[in-house]
Subunit: 315 residues, 2 copies
Amino acid sequence: MEATEVSVKRPREEEEEGKEESVVNGISAVIPGWFSEISPLWPGEAHSLKVKEILFQEKSEYQNVIVFESTTYGKVLVLDGVIQLTERDECAYQEMITHLPLCSIPNPKKVLVIGGGDGGVLREVSRHASVEQIDICEIDGMVVDVAKRFFPKVAVGYEDPRVNLNIGDGVAFLKNVPEGTYDAIIVDSSDPIGPAQELFEKPFFESVAKALRPGGVVCTQAESIWLHMHIIEEIVSVCRQIFKGSVNYAWTTVPTYPRQVSNQSICYAINDGLRLYFLNSSYSIEERPLKFYNTEIHSASFCLPSFAKRAIQME
Amino acid sequence: MEATEVSVKRPREEEEEGKEESVVNGISAVIPGWFSEISPLWPGEAHSLKVKEILFQEKSEYQNVIVFESTTYGKVLVLDGVIQLTERDECAYQEMITHLPLCSIPNPKKVLVIGGGDGGVLREVSRHASVEQIDICEIDGMVVDVAKRFFPKVAVGYEDPRVNLNIGDGVAFLKNVPEGTYDAIIVDSSDPIGPAQELFEKPFFESVAKALRPGGVVCTQAESIWLHMHIIEEIVSVCRQIFKGSVNYAWTTVPTYPRQVSNQSICYAINDGLRLYFLNSSYSIEERPLKFYNTEIHSASFCLPSFAKRAIQME
């Protein structure tokens, strides 16, 4: 039972390192005909989707934007080499990051989305009949244009007349928001490398707290429960310092977020007083049945594996 | 905003197909220096881990067996090109497939494991003080040997004096089991392609039902909630025909089971009478804290996304 010679070619370590750098215009060219995600955020692993056709590829002011038709996940949106959504599984992310906060407070009226340029979160927010105003601040106009052109079932969110689109920096936008404006803020950012970095830092959450009304809720994507526990601990810790109400952490799974090893975690804070009841879905949405979210999934998403409970000292 | 020429080389479709076949002794040689999983069970996608060193590679009577040291997931066991476990995340699978059934019945005494040659499920079963006898039937002796040699923290399960190891076919083994022998049967199989195929079929579950005592419980891995809903529907349907008690379906996430798009689903049936209470963890294990499993995760794992609830008509 000795280890036998392995039949694949293994280049020397230096060459392998070079291989990881061979990202051309956002496409990691490691498997010809496939798109591969390789990033310092998930070292030593890659997820690949087979490419049927590249539909769009341009460099915006902020990042590389690619859309391709995959063989089994429908159309795929890629920013700076990282999958942002696929037609097949986008429901899991959009529904959870939206309905977790909106179903935990009564009658949300004013909602702000930071990031979320694809429009999927808008689509989900618009299912809530109580909502009167939906502001969105996306930094990259090309993401909005590309979503409207290639992902009409996602970008349909823009068709709601309650939506006000702002193209600009979310951090700057928040600073100009009058205190106590919003019932809910949803931070639908990309990873904390690149244009979204500030959205993971303390000054940003201070602006969020100021922009929320007392009892308002914020929900932000918080990377992978398996890979990025240190990022999650940091966000939870910052939120506990800033938000006067309850701070909780939920997780869900998105198959094509391997950068988050298929787990999307969500940090979730309430601005004043309200403590526990938002662990349950207390308020329902009145629209047609969803693909992923339901009241049981709402509660279940706050049940954490033991290692995560210990790390963020959840009771 | 027209799609520009993409800068990666894209071979013609026929060549791409050939590429998928370039699996050499179980290692998909698509990225030099990396291990890539490509399979008809998850077409159009691949998950890759960076290889530090190949430690073992042999063909057993049943399958290709590979162990490699990865750069970020510790040692990895691969059977027929499919990752079976990594040191980093094996806890999620082993704990869930074991404690879900064993914590839902009072004082399990006799437990049978079908498959599970790595010993991880044995390790988890042995935490239950009530258990008096742990039988295991693994078809491939090489898997047992390799686990003992390379994965001592997993194979530690074999050191429990209550364990009786049988190398042989699980289907044949079950046929010789006296009726009503076991309190719990755990089917820790590989995918339904290759040596494990029969473990997904009706005659097998009939043998399981016979071997279980009234009120006994079976738990089996049931592939991916995202990719294999048809397999899950079939297993649930078969179990509903055979088992007189409750049939339920739980899911969990295992980052390096991308073949299951990081979701490991578990079908779970009870042999007689008992209906609902096994959705909760009614009986606890007395050992040291676990890495993944806890009573809240137990209940949460039965909360399904809406699309899955509809597909298997769960109330």
